[in-house]
Amino acid sequence: MIEVNRLTKRFGRVTAVDDLSFTVRAGQVTGFLGPNGAGKTTTMRIILGLDTATSGTALVGGRGYRQIVRPLREVGSLFDATALHGGRTAYDHVLSVALSNGIGRSRVRQVLELTGLSAVARQRIRGFSLGMKQRLGIAAALLGEPPVLMFDEPVNGLDADGVRWIRLLLRQLAADGHTVLVSSHLMSEMALTADHLIIIGRGRLLADTPTDRLTKSSTRADVLVRSPRATELAALLTASGAAVTAEEGGALAVTGLDTPAIADLAARHGIAVHELVPRQPSLEQAYLDLTAASTDFRAAPQASESEASQ
């Protein structure tokens, strides 16, 4: 379990993490989402004791990371997969990390086997593809059979096979009861992988919710209505307190009234309805709405669109 409590980190005048609190539980994949620069990596670095918090605490299994003796047996982590010395062989790299925490050679061979690197274990890392380096990083993270795992943007730059491999691995680890925290700036990826989402923007918590509930809380839910007498219906709906916007092809997007209410209203006035569809926004849309206000770098047209949606 990872507990982040009122964590704040300032770099000079910039507040990277701002009074952030959340808990990451065992047995599920927790996605840590936010736009670039939201403070995900900084938060994870503080959890790992690499950066010092300005205030607040980050505990792993009830302790600060720096208090843990042989921490690789408690927490496995992968940050930058390319942070390796090219002159070393894969085996020597993993071996050195293993020895640092009193882990033996047989486990080194085991994790290399598990990540499919046995055949290239004696080759120097210099010649490895990004996907292989990612596997190597994961091999090192799994060394101590740690109950807690943290991965920072593990699918960045991977090909489809690599992405799928990581996704299955994360699901497997969670199913085995591990605490898995995985950061990403891509909702599409987390939608497939994460059971729970922690979304931050500009260092602040925006949402801490099960993945399948994120869309339900969105204000974007509406009802699509098609009718041959759309204009008339629109006037009636507005009179009943709904908000109506015209969509392409003469359809109406209605908020403020649910499907039965719209159908009853149309029936009372003898207006035929050809299509009546309750719509939920995609996870992607819900995420974009949530983070729109806190994105650091936005393209101009997107900016005007997201401002209009508020």
């Binding site: 670095r45 790992l48 004791g49 690499l50 950066d51 010092t52 990371y65 720096r66 843990i68 003796v69 042989r70 921490p71 690789l72 047996r73 927490v75 982590s77 940050f79 930058d80 390319t82 942070a83 390796l84 010395h85 002159g87 070393r88 062989t89 020597d92 790299h93 071996l95 050195s96 990390v97 020895l99 640092s100 925490n101 009193g102 090192a140």
Partner: protein, 272 residues
């Protein structure tokens, strides 16, 4: 002892300090030994040092015998060593830290061993031991070569002479002191070019600049530098006005100790 060994359950009690020291030394040693270019650099340094020392010995042999108390065979032994061994080994020591910072591997290191002073201590133990071994081997090799070339002309100094073994041993230690100073500076500065510049300044430049000071200051200040201290500990006839060889040894201990201590303080507080 039974034939079948059962793997013990994961230890619940925290490992002893010795076990943790062994872990971090094994960690740093594995990293040091697994880079092939480290051996190549050492080999080149050894070949160049020994070759240059032989050239120096022949040059000394070809000039008429200098007045007594002047140029000794011992001094000739370490002329090449003082640069062609000290510079590459110090650079290797610098890289033990700076290469981890430049690749980002330092985060893996500090995640594995969050007590950063322990990482420093582990690196210092491994780099210090490797430098000491290299230093002693090359110092004795250099002395043997000069001795072999000069003794034919009855100008050699033998290991049987009082003070000579100590001086050769001290020459080996000088390399260890330089490498550890380099390691400490590298941990503070973090990037390679800056750390190499600072290291060379500490080893050579500070002492060199003192040579330009007016007379009482030259020795009064100079004796605290690594360059002056190193020349005192390897000399058969130490210069008067400087620290004694033993006090100079303390100077050679103080530099790396100071650098490593400062590195400890800075590294423990800094974000990586």
């Amino acid at each position: 002892m039974t034939a079948i060994q059962i793997r013990p359950a994961r230890a619940q009690s925290p490992p002893s300090l010795t076990a943790r020291a062994r872990d971090v030394i094994a960690f740093e040693w594995t990293k040091l030994r697994s880079i092939r270019s480290n051996y190549i650099t050492l080999l080149i340094a050894a070949v160049v040092t020994i070759g240059a020392t032989a050239v120096v010995a022949h040059a000394v042999a070809s000039v008429p015998k200098p007045p007594a108390g002047g140029f000794s065979a011992l001094t000739a032994s370490f002329l090449a060593y003082a640069e062609y061994t000290v510079i590459p080994v110090s650079v290797l020591a610098v890289l033990q830290f700076t290469s981890e910072y430049s690749t980002g591997l330092i985060r893996t290191t500090f995640a594995a061993v969050p007590r950063r002073w322990a990482v420093l201590a582990g690196k210092a133990a491994v780099v210090g031991a490797a430098a000491l071994l290299t230093g002693e081997v090359l110092a004795f090799a250099c002395f043997a070569i000069v001795q072999a070339i000069l003794s034919g002309r009855h100008r050699g100094e033998s290991l049987a002479q009082p003070g000579v073994p100590g001086a050769v041993l001290a020459a080996g230690f000088v390399l260890c002191a330089c490498a550890l100073t380099a390691l400490g500076l590298a941990a503070i500065i973090r990037h390679t070019p800056g750390a190499i510049t600072a290291t060379l300044a500490a080893i050579y430049l500070v002492g060199g600049l003192c040579l330009f000071l007016p007379s009482p200051w030259k020795d009064d200040i100079g004796r605290f530098t690594m360059a002056f201290a190193a020349s005192q500990v390897v000399a058969l006839h130490p210069q008067v006005g400087l620290f004694s060889p033993w006090a100079s040894m303390l100077v050679l201990v103080a530099w790396p100790a100071g650098a490593l201590l400062a590195a400890c303080l800075v590294t423990s507080r800094r974000d990586v």
